[in-house]
């Protein structure tokens, strides 16, 4: 109260009032229905709904595929960022702009494009089929779609940090006799670690809730390739609102836990930046 009165700028009450009202109406009230509705099941019903074998199988697929996809993006995202920031080659700016495609492309479009590509007669599915690998309608297909969706998170979180690294630090390491490998492993990569972890965690959190790009390529066989968001939709279509809500609450708690961890990571990396 007292600090605010120091400001000479107008519009505080109006701006904050509108912000809070809009936030309440559009986000907070709708989200609160989730907990209200799942509470109506009672503890026993809630437990039964979230631990049904078909639901547990979907958690395993969704968490497993999301984790593998985030790991793949962790490795290749680092290589892509390194190349985009440090090297000069024709087409670099185009590739840099294209990294955001998974953010901009509607998920349904990504879903049908990936399914067509990895189908047994598709451009990439046919060669894989000859190697005896089935991609579409298997957990591998789910993972591939999640790699697509998570790609920009790792690159876009790492990129500004790598760009702002002071070259003098690397020069200092080199002139003190470090080999290039030592400089990268002991000086550059540790400085990137918090941002890298943040990017991987963001990709993982996004993958957990992803629906549009996965639902086409998954094949949606119960117990095998059925993702958790699809189970929620199926239950809604059967008017099992309480069951759908209970599973949604599990998903939501999982992704909020990850986002909280990301928040911690970011304050860690801010402190790291301050110390240098």
């Amino acid at each position: 109260m007292s600090r605010r009165s120091h400001s000479v700028l107008p519009g505080f009450r109006l701006a904050l009032g509108f912000t809070l009202l809009y936030l309440l109406l559009v986000v907070l009230i709708p989200l609160s229905t989730l907990f209200w509705k799942s509470a109506s099941l009672g503890p026993a019903g809630l437990w039964a709904a979230v631990t049904a074998p078909r639901v547990v199988a979907s958690y395993e697929l969704t968490f497993g595929a999301s984790l593998v996809a985030a790991a793949i993006n962790g490795v290749f995202g680092l290589v892509v960022t390194w190349v985009l920031v440090r090297y000069r080659f024709p087409g670099r700016r185009l590739m840099d702009a294209l990294v955001d495609l998974p953010f901009a492309l509607p998920t349904a479009v990504a879903g049908i494009a990936l399914t067509t590509l990895y189908a047994p007669n598709g451009w990439l599915g046919a060669p894989l089929e000859r190697l005896g690998i089935k991609a579409a309608f298997t957990p591998l297909g789910v993972t591939l779609a999640l790699v697509f969706i998570g790609l920009p998170f790792v690159v876009r979180t790492l990129q500004p940090v790598l760009e702002s690294l002071d070259p003098e630090v690397e020069e200092a390491a080199a002139s003190l006799g470090a080999t290039r490998l030592q400089t990268v492993a002991r000086v550059v990569l540790p400085a990137l670690l918090p941002a890298w972890l943040t990017g991987v965690a963001l990709a993982f959190a996004r993958a957990l809730g992803e629906y549009g790009s996965v639902v086409f390529i998954a094949g949606n066989m119960p117990m095998k390739t059925e993702i958790t968001p699809l189970i929620i939709i199926t239950k809604l279509e059967q008017y099992d609102y309480a069951g759908a809500t209970a599973i949604a609450a599990v998903t939501l708690v999982a992704s909020f836990t990850i986002l909280l961890a990301i928040n911690r990571l970011q304050s860690w990396s801010a402190r790291l930046g301050m110390a240098e």
């Binding site: 400001s7 109006l14 701006a15 440090r86 879903g111 290039r180 629906y211 929620i232 986002l259 928040n263």
Partner: protein, 298 residues
């Protein structure tokens, strides 16, 4: 002097070698990165257009001119035309309150604004069914008053507003935080009104970030699938947006038409990426020109 030169040159070369990778490593890393980007980004992008034109331009045009496709396009435009301006006004108000004033609970507010990003699209749609569906909390009441808010156009718009809620605010808050309040305070002391301060002082500083936020918000509003899929009810010609129309065509094995409609959305995505790149260049340009902050003031 000539005798002293070689050691210096050698040392420079040693440092150069130790601050960048050998050529072979560079080539291998670049090839790996490009192959990864090609397989995961370029090939799917190309597939959309190849499949869309698989039966020639006439079939492509026919798929787009079909009445159901046109009504889906219209609904998509209407949805974005409502959702984007509302979230734009919210984004500006939220950023103004958060960055120009100090108040308790500010960090909590900023976290809450980001909340919809952490919610699965399916859940984002579902909460509106829990609220306004026939068995929902407010559903019986709204239905008694003749309001049908789910499986209808208003439901689609509500779900779209929810998923695109943070875009503009999230773009503006760090930008306006970095700008500080001194310029606005100076304008206030010189007698400018609130609206004048915003239009003449704040807006020129944030216009590119604002534009970028609106572009992202619009792309997501037009392309959202999961959330609208849950609330739409899939009534053909009435509650089908373009992404939902793509799904229906695809599930009917009408692949060519599905990809033709998808190519429209892909085109929108490419325009979004181009606009983003342009905005970034403008931003970098205005930052590097001397007295860049003054050149915008008329």
């Amino acid at each position: 002097m000539a005798a002293a030169a070689p050691p210096v040159a050698t040392r420079t070369r040693h440092v150069a070698r130790a601050t960048s990778e050998p050529l072979l490593v560079k080539v291998v890393l670049t090839a790996t990165a490009l192959a990864f980007l090609a397989v995961f980004l370029l090939v799917p992008l190309a597939a959309v257009f190849v499949e869309a034109l698989a039966k020639g331009w006439a079939a492509y045009a026919a798929a787009l001119a079909e009445p159901m496709a046109l009504s889906a396009l219209e609904l998509t435009l209407v949805t974005a035309a409502v959702a984007v301006p509302l979230n734009l006004v919210f984004g500006i108000a939220a950023a103004w309150a958060v960055t120009k004033f100090e108040f308790p609970g500010k960090n909590v507010l900023v976290t809450l604004i980001d909340l919809p990003f952490g919610v699965s699209p399916v859940i984002s749609g579902m909460v509106f069914i829990l609220l306004f569906g026939r068995q929902g909390i407010l559903g019986p009441w709204t239905e008694a008053h003749g309001l049908k808010l789910v499986f209808s156009v208003p439901g689609l718009i509500l779900a779209t507003i929810f998923v695109t809620f943070p875009f503009v605010a999230r773009e503006l808050i760090p930008l306006m935080q970095a700008e500080g309040t001194e310029e606005e305070e100076a304008a206030r002391v010189l007698g400018a009104s609130g609206w004048q301060i915003f239009r003449r002082v704040t807006l020129p500083n944030i216009k590119w970030g604002l534009l970028y936020g609106v572009i992202l918000c619009n792309a997501r509003a037009m392309g959202e699938f999961g959330a609208v899929s849950v609330v739409s009810g899939h009534i053909r010609g009435r509650t089908n947006t373009l992404p939902l129309h793509v799904e229906i065509l695809y599930n009917e094995y009408n692949f060519q038409a599905a990809f033709a409609v998808a190519s429209l959305l892909t085109f929108l995505a490419l325009v979004t990426l181009a606009a983003k790149t342009l905005v970034e260049w403008r931003e970098a340009g205005s930052r590097s020109t001397p007295n860049g902050e003054n050149s915008d003031v008329d």
